[in-house]
Amino acid sequence: MRTVKYEDIVKSIRDMIIFSTTHLAPDMKKALEEAYENEKSEVSQAVLAQLLENAKIAEEEWKPLCQDTGLAIYFVKVGTDVKVEGGSLKEAIYEGTAKGYEEGYLRASTCDCFTRANLKDKAGYNLPPIIYFDLVEGDKIEIEYAAKGGGSENVSRATVLAPAAGKEGIKEFVKKVVSDAGPNPCPPLVVGVGIGGSFDMSAVMSKHALFRNIGTPNPDPELNELEKELKDELNKLGIGAMGMGGTETVLAVHIETYENRMCHIASLPVAVNIQCHSSRHAHITI
């Protein structure tokens, strides 16, 4: 059994948060540069130029790319042959999150659902995070992190279609979600789609789909094709950067299914998680 020190996890998480909220991930930067080259509308192109300039300033000054530094979202894979010494893994993630957000001068955005009071003094700075744990073989801990802002989360949707709706029904639903969202979630977007499993699992998968680097193909050739078709169709909507009208609305569509396309015989769950251009995601293995 391998042991990992509690403090080491706290520090890794803290550092990952501060770096990834100020340094645009290379896949996003490349996708924005390509969008800038391809955009036909002048207004949208001007917006894309601002986003690239913003990324440059943020990186040079270690200044947050966006003021909405989000809820901290984690997907964690824990090996069965590793244990944490000096505290629990969950506590370490909480502590690393609070430290990263507070010491990185990031915004604390967690609040009470009803009173809307900020939770920073009650629960801790930008606590609690959202964590999905999974058990896997091996002696490593793999942590994927994203800072998920509210603007793009607010326009995300989930549904359960009738099985007869099929692929066409899925496409229609995704198109409706992106079309209704319009300018609000800060396009250009990455669109995460979760298909199958259960109502809740489709939503979790739609979020996890956002962690895949843009440009990495879907391992399932049929889904890979569907992703490309959807991207082309979504770009026909004309929404453009920040909704000002244009040709580059969607940078990528990423689809995940449950255990190789499983769902119940009576249902077809579909969830769409929208990600803005400020996709701050990172991943560490401890």
Binding site: L51, N54, N184, M242
Partner: protein, 184 residues
């Protein structure tokens, strides 16, 4: 698509020449407020009480910035989604507000108030928060410090970059821009 440099406070004359799609660089004093602060401002108006700043000609920026690092006037400061301010904006416009800066669609009431009382809704680039912070030279909390990032701040800006979304003629850049580029 014209380009303008304007100084705040804005006059009717200033806003009446603007058309959706125009690029504007704003300089001068502006105020920041989000939903919680808007609710309080509207309550003050309804109770006939004095506001923490002069509303006539004012521009309000919808933002909840990150905390500033030592020595900085403000942290990253991009716009937040504007629809949350829709229930409060028309009454502020009626009482002299001339400009709002945010991102995303406004409802019909806000657009109608812009036409009736002469005001403009500007879009700033969401997520360009480090870039926009460069245009903010000074920031000072002037009301509701207990709201944290949502407190009302007086900010001094120089060439703050925005695009006119809703003008005083009832135009909407989001609808027009999309129609122009939509492929059936």
């Amino acid at each position: 698509m014209a380009e303008y440099r304007l100084k705040t406070p804005l006059s009717n004359e200033d806003v009446e020449k603007l058309k959706s799609g125009d690029i504007v660089y704003l300089s001068g004093t502006m105020y920041t407020a989000r939903d919680a602060a808007h609710k309080r401002l509207v309550d003050l108006i309804l109770n006939g009480e004095e506001l923490p700043f002069e509303l006539e000609g004012a521009v309000i920026y919808y933002v909840g910035p990150t905390p500033p690092k030592p020595g900085e006037p403000i942290g990253s400061a991009g716009p937040t989604t504007s629809y949350r301010m829709d229930p409060y904006a028309p009454i502020l416009i009626e009482h002299g507000l001339k400009g709002m800066i945010g991102k995303g669609k406004r409802n019909q009431d806000v657009k109608d108030a812009c036409v009736k009382y002469k005001a403009v809704y500007f879009g700033a680039t969401g997520g360009a928060a480090a870039l926009i912070a460069k245009a903010i030279k000074k920031a000072e909390v002037i009301a509701y410090p207990e709201l944290g990032p949502e407190a009302v701040r007086r900010i001094e800006v120089e060439d703050f970059p925005v695009v006119v979304v809703n003008d005083t003629f009832g135009n909407d850049l989001y609808d027009e821009g999309r129609k122009l580029w939509e492929k059936k």
